[in-house]
Amino acid sequence: MKGAGYVPRWLIVPAVIGLLFLLVPLTALVARVEWSTLIADVTSPTALQALGLSLGTGAVATLVCAAVGIPLALLIARSSPRTAALLRALVTVPLVLPPMVGGVALLYLFGRNGWFGALGLPFTTTAVVLAQVFVALPFLVLAVEGALRSTGVEIERTAASLGASRVTILRRVTLPLAAPGIVAGIVLCFARAIGEFGATALFAGNRPGVTQTMPLAIYTAFNGGGVGQGTAVALALLLLVTAIAVLLLVRGWRPPVGAS
């Protein structure tokens, strides 16, 4: 893409309003940080344990989402318009549910009395990952599907007529061309997984070191906290900064030019 497009300049006004609306509340949050206890708060074993758990489960959940979500997105993108509309609606369903309800559903399914109760999943770290996958997968699928649809099939046909197998086409044409959308989907997915609270709280519980991720630690701190819930705010900041660092790292990575 060379040069700029042509967009009405006054659109900057609503754009900046939107951006400010997202960012100013966070500055209000920062304004409430108790700087005196910040270091202690964010370096407490609870905080670090929760952070590690969040990053670990978030990463695994994102991998799982990519592994099943990209194929699902491909399936939808390459289906007939009718089938695609149906599949897309089905994928959107879990999105609509408050995560807590999703957590209840997972608990019913995998709980003691559930169909898969024998697996003994609830209240384990695996359950955290499952809860995150459940809430984050739709975001990945819908974002990737959009990208795949707009890259179109013409270029796949060209590759096919050059003798490339389906796997080669996928690896060297379809996925690289949809890469911006896939990266966007993975970012959405990871961010959603990292921030997930409701489903985790119900399905995995709030067990320090096992299922207590950052959002649950924040919630716990918030419930138990005294003045200004300083610890909760500090933990929220920690989560934010870490997540941004991870995201910038991911975004900064680009496939090497002309790679084969």
């Binding site: 060209t158 007529s161 050059l162 003798g163 197998s165 080669t168 890469a179 002309g258 084969s260």
Partner: protein, 349 residues
């Protein structure tokens, strides 16, 4: 390596129907020419497996790779061993030029280093050494076209389909690539769609004329171009074609009478009353009196040409120099003539 191609392509696109059949011998090149929208690209896409058949069948070396009627067959494009160079270059935008050209060999399992060396060699052959590291978007239109040619040929297919491979190229570059293509297609089964009779003459063994979805003429290139069976085929060959009647060894239209020194033409013209067409090059027509093969015509329009003026008359056309044209205007009556060794007669319907 090169395969025999046998095709009967029937494709229905809305009201438009393509129904064309032909064979291509192993190593042979078949050119397809026809007007815009005649169905040429549709035929190539069907051969490549990118367009579903609505009838007919396609076989490679006797093995059916596509058949409409039960038992249906539909081999995937990548399993046909046929490579299509489409009408749009459609280079992979995310790959370097070198990786674009190396794509086919890589897909066929050639080692990376070999495929790249091969790609560089092909880029040199299409006159683009040193652009391997660029992205397609950093090339001019003609350069992209040439990379697409290199990419198609580098895949070393059992049969190659070229849809207007020399379009968007200047005369000099086109001549170079045409020569390169002729060598590259030597011994390769190929079908090439083109709008330029020169391409057909140099690249192809036989020429198929397609009009409105139907094959109207198929034969050795020289034969089709020198004896076009229709107005369209004649115009494509750069010839004038005027329908008339055979009479005493000559072509006759009203008062006009043309003789030919060509043996086959005279044989045709011997059957009195037979519908025949006179075929000649406008460049061979002269303005001015002549003992034989002269006719009076009214000037319809005068059009500049690169080296002179093209005179369109109510019967025939002439290419004349600017000096001669200076005295003429539309509506004038002039005498045109053509040497008998420059006229051919062909059967008309």
């Amino acid at each position: 390596m090169s395969a025999a191609l046998s095709a009967h392509v029937v494709v229905q696109r809305r009201a438009f129907r393509v129904d064309v059949a032909f064979d291509v011998a192993p190593g042979e090149t078949l050119a397809i020419m026809g007007r815009s929208g005649a169905g040429k690209s549709t035929v190539l896409e069907a051969l490549a497996g990118l367009q579903r058949l609505d009838g007919g069948e396609i076989a490679l070396d006797g093995r059916v790779i596509d058949r409409f009627a039960p038992p249906r067959v539909r081999t995937d494009p990548m399993r046909r061993g046929i490579v299509l160079l489409g009408q749009d270059a459609r280079l992979f935008p995310h790959l370097s030029v070198r990786e674009n050209v190396a794509f086919g060999p890589r897909a066929a399992g050639v080692a990376v280093a070999d495929a790249r060396a091969d790609a560089d060699a092909w880029l040199a052959r299409v006159g683009l050494p040193g652009v391997g590291d660029r992205r397609p978007a950093e090339l001019s239109g003609g350069e992209q076209q040439r990379v697409a040619v290199a990419r198609a040929l580098a895949a070393r297919p059992r049969a190659v389909l070229l849809d207007e491979p020399l379009v968007a190229l200047d005369a000099v570059t086109a001549a170079e690539i045409r020569t390169m293509l002729r060598d590259a297609l030597d011994g390769v089964t190929a079908v090439a769609v083109t709008h330029d009779a020169v391409d057909a003459a140099i690249l192809a063994d036989r020429l198929l004329i397609v009009e409105a979805g139907r094959a109207t003429q198929l034969g050795p290139v020289r034969e089709v171009l020198s004896a076009p069976a229709s107005e369209v085929a004649a115009r494509i060959a750069g010839l004038e074609r005027v329908d008339g009647t055979a009479s005493a060894g000559s072509w006759v239209l009203g008062d006009l009478r043309l003789a030919s020194t060509d043996v086959r033409s005279r044989a045709l013209a011997a059957e009195a009353g037979r519908a025949i067409a006179a075929v000649f090059r406008a460049a061979d027509v002269r303005v001015g009196e002549s003992a034989v093969n002269a006719w009076r015509a009214r000037v319809v329009r005068l059009e500049p040409t690169p080296t002179g003026v093209r005179l369109l008359a109510d019967v025939g056309a002439a290419e004349i120099d600017a000096v001669t044209a200076a005295d003429l205007a539309a509506g004038d009556v002039v005498t045109l003539s053509i040497p008998p060794d420059r006229v051919r007669f062909v059967a008309a319907s």
